[in-house]
Amino acid sequence: MTGQTVILEMARREAAHLADLVEQFAALLDSDSVDGDPAIARLSPDAYPEDSAAADEFRRLTRSDLLERRRADSAVVLASLAEDGAVPRIADVDDDVAMDSRVLTLDPAESAAWLRTLAALRLVLASRLGVTAEDAHDDDDPRFGVYEWLGYRLEGLLQALNE
């Protein structure tokens, strides 16, 4: 299941959207409000729910490293998206080529960073959307479409790794 290279096909428009999301995530990790953000809290939950002193101590010792690894993962994803040329902004993707595929090649370390980042993006979106059930959905909120698309991509990458 590990140790192999994975080939990923992604439309240019999709790559632009993913790069945009990962950049937003990286900006969130670097923002001043990181400590009070509920999505970030979900990414570094209490390790000791019944012992607040131990939980605080654990967080004090580990949180900045955890966020640093998140930043590193995000950088890996952005780098692989830009592997054969810079990814244009969403608005700058030419309609004529928007659905053309980019072929991305991920080595095992890159795949691992992609999995963790896709999962993290879903957790952040779920926090913003107030997702409390597996079948949460709202046709009127386009962010649910993004949330489900990230799940589809995560599932696809897992399948590719298991082949």
């Binding site: 979900r42 019944e50 955890l66 690894r69 999962a119 993290a120 879903r122 957790l123 799940g151 995560l154």
Partner: protein, 94 residues
């Protein structure tokens, strides 16, 4: 002198294994296939064992995925948090 309760607790746990466990809790966001992947990849569990633990998390709300020394459990929890899983450390309850 009288030992505080906490210390008595620590002493009583010596000898019955290392006394701490890593617990993974259910959440509505992480995909089942992803949780299985994490258990296989990180702990090196067999596909069957990883699947069994994932189903326990899913249906019972949580599962104990490792037991041992406190420091080791804290490393596991950090790793689970890196993957985005909701994990905690606690004393073994058996």
């Amino acid at each position: 002198m009288t030992l505080p309760l906490e210390e008595t607790d620590v002493l009583s746990s010596v000898g019955e294994g290392a006394g701490w466990e890593t617990v993974v809790w259910n959440d509505p966001v992480n995909l089942m296939s992803y949780v299985v992947h994490v258990f296989r990849e990180y702990f090196g569990y067999s596909p069957a064992r990883a699947e069994e633990l994932m189903l326990a998390v899913h249906h019972r709300g949580h599962a104990i995925v490792a037991e041992g020394a406190r420091e080791q459990m804290e490393l596991h929890v950090q790793a689970m948090h890196d993957y985005g899983l909701w994990a905690t450390v606690r004393r073994t309850r058996s």
